[in-house]
Every structure is written in structure tokens, then in C-alpha cells.
Amino acid sequence: MSREAQTELPEARYSYGGDEFVFVELAEGMSLKVNFRAMAITNRLREENLEGVMDICPSNASYMVRVDPDVLHPDDLISRLKEIDEEAGDIAGFELPTRVVDVPVMMEDPWTHEALMRFRDRHQDPDATDLEYSARINGYDNKDDFIAALLGSPWLVTMIGFVPGLPWCYQLVPPEEQVEVPKYVRPRTFTPERAFGFGGGFAVIYSVQGAGGYQLYGLAPAPVLDVKQELKDFEDSIVFPKPGDIFNYRGIDREEFDEIRARVEDKTFEYRTRPFTFHPDRSLEDPHGYNKEILGVLYGD
């Protein structure tokens, strides 16, 4: 099974991003397999503490390394990356020590609704909401079934970026169940902070207010970015999500939303998290069965 996982993936494309970056595209298309491979390679590279490596950025189906070429020649880095891919890129037996996180989201909240209504002229379907449109083009009978699918299975954080703290999340479901939506025809100039959005095959939480082109579905009451590091989850970093985190988006009502907001305001909020060792090959073999186990770890006690 896992041997196949390796051979099914195409040859990686190694490329210079100017003289200070090396960019490696493992595949053009997104899959859990390719993200696991990116994570395995970048984790190994991080362990090696190579002099001259300044930033290691895993992304969805690719990764990027910022290098100081005065210390480490990009070609030498690429040679090493190819070796690491040989050694670690086969995800057979790959274990990811991570955590599983409860991420509350209020779907169809009034704030993102107002934002999306303001920019209907930039949308594929000005007469529907983003949820109605997305449900329809993904073959769902109604938006409630679509919401149930989004909230029904956990997600892997596959990339952090765009702006600080924004997590890209890919759902831990078989390819045929993956949701896919286009981005807005023209990006909005406004997106509320903590909006829950979707574009391509990825769910995100907008860490800050700003422009954005993803479909808008809801709002998270808890932040993913806390530059003042006032909340306990942000003691070590201004950013909460980490690549490899498993997020379970849990639907909440207005009452719970307000209650969590109050705890964020008085600095007592903490995410519910549980340590978890994630086995990618198990997820690929039996995603739904494994998801039950993951959610059991998160909510079992």
C-alpha cells in the first residue's frame, strides 16, 4: 500500500526561487499523500539543522526553503533534499507526533453573511450565498448536508501562511468526498477576522481582517493569531496552528459563540487539544474508521 503511495507520485520539480529560495513542487495536484511526503521531508530537514537553512516552509503539495547562499549553495541543498526524499519521502511507517484540536465555528453567522452580501457582484453566483452555491456545485441537495460534511470529519493543517497564522486545512476524507470550490471571480476587499472560508480544496481561518477570495461560510470565535500573546495557547508563538495539526471544526450556536468570545476577551480561553500520533497510512487505508478514533481521542474524556 505505502510502496504504491510512493510510486504513484510524479517526479518532484526542484527550482530556484531566485538566489535565496529553493522551491520543490512534489505534485501539481493536492492529495493527503503528497502533503504527508512534504511534511516528512521538511521534518527531517529541520532535524538536520543544516547551516545556511533559514526558513523551512512546508506547503500543501510542495515546500520551500529559504537559504543563505553565502553559506550553503542552493545546488548542495537540492542534492541533500533529493537524498532526504529518497530516505523519508516514502511515507510507509511515517508517524507524525501531533495534536488534535477542537476548533469551534459558527456557520452562517451574521458578520461573514454581511461581508459576503456586500461583494455579491464579485461572485460566480450573485443570487445565492457562498454556502448555497458551494453545496450546489459539489452535488449536495441543500446547504445543511454540505455543512454536515464539512463538520463531520477532521482536517489536516497542510500549510501556514498568506498572512501570519492562517492555516490551510485539507479534510481527512477519500478523494471522492473532497469538497472543491472556486475562489471569488474578483477578490473581496474585506474579510472579517477569524472568518471560516473555503477555496480550491482548502478550508482556512482568516487570521486577520483583510482582502480575500475564498468562499465565506462562518466565523470562529477563537483567534489563530495573537500578536500580544495574551492567551495561554500563544505563550510560545504568536501563531496557534502548526503544519500537521489535526483540526476538528465543530459547529456552534450563537450562545456558545458569545460565551467563547467572552472567554477570549478575558484571556481565559484555551483550545481543547489532545496529543496524538498520527499514522498517515492508516488514514489512507480507512479514513472514516481512523477519524472516529481521532475524534474519540479529542472528545473521549
Binding site: 531566485g18 495536484g29 492529495s31 553565502d70 501562511g161 498568506f162 501570519p164 486577520v208 483583510g210
Partner: protein
């Protein structure tokens, strides 16, 4: 010692070399856009490399010094005046308590740098004093300077012996209205047709009004993507790819008509196909172009980029040596 901001100018920000090691959380480096001009300013006033200064964009501020200070102005041809008297650039200057620094209209280039002995002393945020303009972090309260701001300056001791030191004429960069910017083609350049890649390199592009610390947009040509069935996760637009990391200086072409070069305060990743990257040395030159200036992109290989980098390093070492 402090600098009082009587008028802020168009966009004046506190910058140093930048914020590194945080790209993986989505934090771009920020920092001086024209590193050469910024660093030479520090050499002139005898600062340590990396001391914070001011980046002045297009239209200069009016600044008042509360005590005697040693300063230098480098970068664009934005003629400085001290108490209304024209003052030289690329030279160490003395100002006295109460002196007012203003600027005449921009002649060439886009960004000037003010270095002050002791460095601008704003709190560090993630080991840098640079202002990140896109979401408002770092620098002075996370924003461009405003009227009435007061900036503390670090302790410098007596540096009056440096006054009058100047960068040799042949070392001073000249900024015309046409720039050639070297790029390494790569990343997701396979998304462009071969003809469009040639068009990109053959076109004389014009800098649009949308040109700032986040990125520069250009007009002048039309580029086409190779037709394909979009892969899983990418979204339906042909300019879209599965969201990936954007190197600083990387070039993308949403819609095919407006190439964007992402710069120091840019987003760190996203779903547009990137086609190449400006080499690090030429980010300085790019930062000195302005709206309506012309730009050509020339394809180079890594060896040429590294050679340019090495030459730049030697040049800066020479300048530093001459000023020490």
C-alpha cells in the same frame, strides 16, 4: 535624543534588515526595500549593521531633531534640506538641536533612507524593528509615521569625527526611469506557454500605481497559461495552482495581464502560479522604480545571480572599509 515628526511624508516607516526565520508562520521579512542604500547609511553614521533607520517613499517628511545628531541620507534622488538649506546625500551630516530636515521633490528613484547615529530605537518585535505594513506590526506602532510622532534614538556617543565622510561618486547608484531587473525563471513557470514566457521577457513593462512594499504590479503585455484540466485542490481558474509558498521577489500573473512582483511585506503563499523570482541584488533596483517607470525582466541563471551577489558583497565591504 528624539526625532519629532512635524509632517509624515507619503509613507515613512522604520526599517532594519528585516525579520527572518518566521516565514513558516506566514511572516514576511519586511525590512528596507533597498538594502544597499539602507546599509550604506549605517556605514556613514558609524552604526552597527542592522541598526534601524527610516525608509522614506516618494514624498519626504518634515523631521525635527531634539538634540545634536549625526545623520546620513542615501537612496533616491530626493534632495534633503536642513533648515531650508540644501544638504548633500551619501554623506555624513551633523544636525543641531532644533534643526528641521525637509525634502524637495523626488527627481529619481523612489525611496530614501535616513540613518541616524545610534539607530531609531523602537521596540523589537520578533527580533526586528522593521514595520510590516500589510497587517500593521513592528516598527513604530505597526504603522507609517504620523504627524506628532516622536521617535527615540539610541545612544551614539560622540561621532562628530565622521561628519563630512562621503561615499565615492562611482559607488553611488544612479536611478533612471528605465530598469533592467534580472530574474531566475522557474517555480511554476511551466504553467505559461512558451510564447508567453518569451513575451514576458521581451515586453517593456510599465509600473502601475499599485506599487508598494507589498508588491509591484505591471502593465504592458498579455500572457497565456497552458491549457490543462485543473488538478485536485487548485480551483478552476487557469492562473490557479494548489496553494504554494511565494519566495520574496517571486512573480505571478493573475488573469494574465498584470504581473506582480511580491516584495518585503507580501503574502507568503497563495494559489496563483509563480513564474520566476527577482534575484536578491536587483530587489534594491526594483525598489527604486516608481509608477510609470519602465521595467524589463532579463532571465539569468543561478550562477549569474550568485556572481552579482558576490560583487555586491565586495562593493559593500569596500565602502564600509573606506568609511571606517
Amino acid at each position: 535624543m528624539a526625532i519629532k515628526v512635524n509632517k509624515p511624508g507619503l509613507l515613512t516607516t522604520v526599517q532594519d534588515t528585516g525579520r527572518f526565520g518566521e516565514y513558516d508562520i506566514g511572516m514576511p521579512p519586511s525590512g528596507a526595500m533597498d538594502v544597499f542604500s539602507y546599509q550604506v547609511g549605517n556605514y556613514l553614521v558609524g552604526n552597527e549593521d542592522g541598526a534601524a533607520g527610516l525608509e522614506i517613499t516618494y514624498f519626504g517628511p518634515e523631521l525635527e531633531f531634539t538634540e545634536d545628531a549625526v545623520i546620513a541620507i542615501t537612496g533616491a534622488e530626493l534632495p534633503p534640506k536642513i533648515n531650508g538649506e540644501e544638504a548633500p546625500t551619501w554623506e555624513t551630516l551633523a544636525v543641531e538641536a532644533g534643526d528641521v530636515l525637509t525634502f524637495d521633490y523626488l527627481k529619481n528613484g523612489a525611496r530614501s533612507y535616513l540613518a541616524v547615529a545610534g539607530g531609531v530605537d523602537v521596540p523589537e518585535f520578533l527580533h526586528s524593528r522593521s514595520t510590516y505594513t500589510l497587517i500593521g506590526l513592528g516598527g513604530h506602532e505597526g504603522r507609517a509615521l504620523q504627524e506628532g510622532d516622536e521617535l527615540k534614538v539610541g545612544e551614539a556617543g560622540d561621532r562628530s569625527d565622521r561628519v563630512g565622510m562621503a561615499v565615492a561618486d562611482e559607488q553611488v547608484p544612479k536611478f533612471g526611469k528605465e530598469a533592467e531587473i534580472r530574474v531566475i525563471i522557474g517555480l511554476a513557470s511551466y504553467r505559461l506557454t512558451e510564447e508567453s514566457l518569451r513575451t514576458f521577457l521581451d515586453t517593456e513593462w510599465t509600473v502601475t500605481p499599485d506599487a508598494n512594499r507589498v508588491g509591484y504590479r505591471y502593465r504592458g503585455g498579455e500572457l497565456e497559461f497552458v491549457e490543462r484540466e485543473q488538478p485536485a485542490g487548485a480551483g478552476s481558474d487557469p492562473a490557479n495552482v494548489v496553494d504554494l509558498g511565494y519566495p520574496v521577489g517571486s512573480i505571478q500573473v493573475p488573469g494574465g495581464v498584470e504581473p506582480i512582483v511580491l516584495l518585503n511585506d507580501a503574502v507568503t503563499g497563495g494559489g496563483y502560479a509563480t513564474i520566476g523570482t527577482v534575484i536578491s541584488v536587483d530587489r534594491d533596483r526594483l525598489a527604486q522604480t516608481k509608477t510609470n517607470d519602465k521595467t524589463r525582466f532579463r532571465s539569468v541563471d543561478l550562477a549569474e545571480a550568485l556572481k552579482a551577489r558576490e560583487e555586491r558583497r565586495q562593493q559593500m565591504a569596500e565602502i564600509k572599509q573606506a568609511l571606517s
